[in-house]
């Protein structure tokens, strides 16, 4: 973050604290690119950079009342970005450690696959390997016909957080099931 960006961020954040949604959107848009560069500089061009960006934005949203306009913006922002980067890095390592290696995937059943070609066993195995919260949300949305609002109420998360968590779960499932990777 350049000194000019730091000054501009501080101004936008003060406006955002007062309820200016345009200034807040501008701030988050700028911080998106700053966070992306920050994360890439530390972990390279990995596939989960957007997770770090989104986690950072969500944390900034929940912590914006802790920014003191009398203090510089950059230390406040980088403390959050560093923390989220470490959290996502740990989570990715956990997910990777749970993923089944190709050679340990269950043998394809000799029974004929269903007509639609869906391998139910593989889906269950992939679902079981998700972190508990992602699995719970996806099962709620897809198997229990719960709405995002229902799940947000039950898990005490925001609706945005439920959608983001579900999105990450879908992406992990796609990766585990060998489907095409869709970049955001």
């Amino acid at each position: 973050m350049t000194p000019e960006q730091g000054r501009q961020s501080s101004e936008w954040m003060q406006l955002a604290q007062a309820g200016d949604q345009i200034a807040y959107a501008s701030l988050l848009a700028m911080l998106t690119s700053v966070t992306r560069r920050f994360a890439r500089a530390r972990v390279g061009d990995v596939g989960w950079i957007d997770d770090v960006v989104q986690e950072t934005l969500l944390t900034i949203h929940g912590a914006r009342q802790t920014y003191d306009p009398a203090r510089p913006f950059a230390p406040w922002f980088y403390a959050i970005a560093s923390s989220r980067l470490i959290d996502v890095l740990r989570r990715e390592r956990r997910v990777r450690s749970r993923e089944l290696a190709d050679d340990s995937l269950p043998e394809a059943s000799s029974a004929p696959a269903p007509d639609d070609g869906i391998d139910v066993q593989a889906i269950h195995a992939a679902l079981a390997s998700l972190p508990a919260r992602q699995r719970d949300i996806i099962e709620g949305l897809k198997f229990r016909d719960e709405s995002v609002r229902d799940i947000a109420g039950r898990t005490k998360m925001t609706e945005s957080a439920v959608k983001v968590t579900a999105h990450r779960g879908y992406r992990t499932l796609r990766r585990l099931l060998g489907g095409p990777r869709r970049e955001d």
Binding site: A16, Q17, A18, G19, Q21, I22, Y24, A25, L28, A29, T32, D50, V53, Q54, E55, L57, L58, T59, H61, G62, A63, R64, Q65, T66, Y67, D68, P69, R71, P75, W76, F77, Y78, A79, I80, S83, D87, R133, K156, M157, T158, S160, A161, K163, V164, T165, H167, D184
Partner: protein
């Protein structure tokens, strides 16, 4: 969800917020509350009858001083940790840990030099005072920390629990007339450790939920 959509959602849901006061101001507020609670407990139950004599004994004074310093430094560290990027120093946390450890150390030294002495090992009143005062002051501290953004919830929860049990133990020391090392080590320090651990196990998830998805 695409990041652009997330930005729009967050911006739409952004209501005005009041910036939190500085960690120092919030520390003073909590200390005022904790001191008031401790004073009410001491006045309600009654201070030990020999308090005027006890304050002339080095063991009593050093033990009480260690508890007060542990409370101040732990609570200060917790409030600083709850604000991203706030000026934090390892010295602050080291002081909190050192002062907290000095408390049992004083009584282990008394045990080693003066022996066990006569007196009850455990008194339910002391345990109740420590537990209730810790729960109330600790609950208030966790609630105040949750309004901020503790990015290191385990550390924050641990030192918040320490602040709560040390302020409760300081008040209990002013009430309890039993100055034998075994009673202090078992009836106060062991109980405070158990209550603090329980407080950490309750408070940590509260802080974690505040900042994790």
């Amino acid at each position: 969800m695409k990041t652009d959509e997330l930005i729009l959602q967050l911006a739409k849901s952004a209501l005005p917020v009041t910036p939190l006061p500085s960690p120092f101001v919030r520390l003073l507020r909590w200390l005022a509350l904790a001191a008031a609670l401790a004073a009410v407990a001491v006045l309600a139950i009654g201070p030990r009858a020999d308090l005027a004599v006890a304050v002339t004994r080095p063991t009593f004074v050093v033990s009480l001083l260690a508890l007060v310093v542990a409370t101040l430094s732990s609570a200060a560290a917790a409030f600083v940790l709850s604000v991203p990027g706030a000026g934090r120093s390892s010295l602050q946390r080291a002081l909190a840990v050192a002062a907290t450890l000095a408390w049992p150390l004083v009584w282990f030294l008394v045990l080693a030099n003066a022996g066990a002495g006569r007196g009850r090992l455990f008194h339910a009143g002391c345990a109740l005072e420590i537990a209730i005062l810790s729960a109330v002051s600790g609950g208030a501290l966790i609630a105040m920390l949750r309004r901020a953004a503790p990015l290191q919830p385990a550390w924050t929860g641990g030192i918040a629990a320490t602040a709560a049990v040390t302020v409760a133990s300081a008040a209990t020391q002013v009430i309890c007339p039993i100055d034998t090392a075994p009673h202090q080590l078992v009836g106060h320090i062991l109980i405070a450790s158990i209550v603090g651990s329980a407080g950490f196990l309750v408070g940590w998830p509260q802080l974690r939920r505040r900042t994790r998805i």
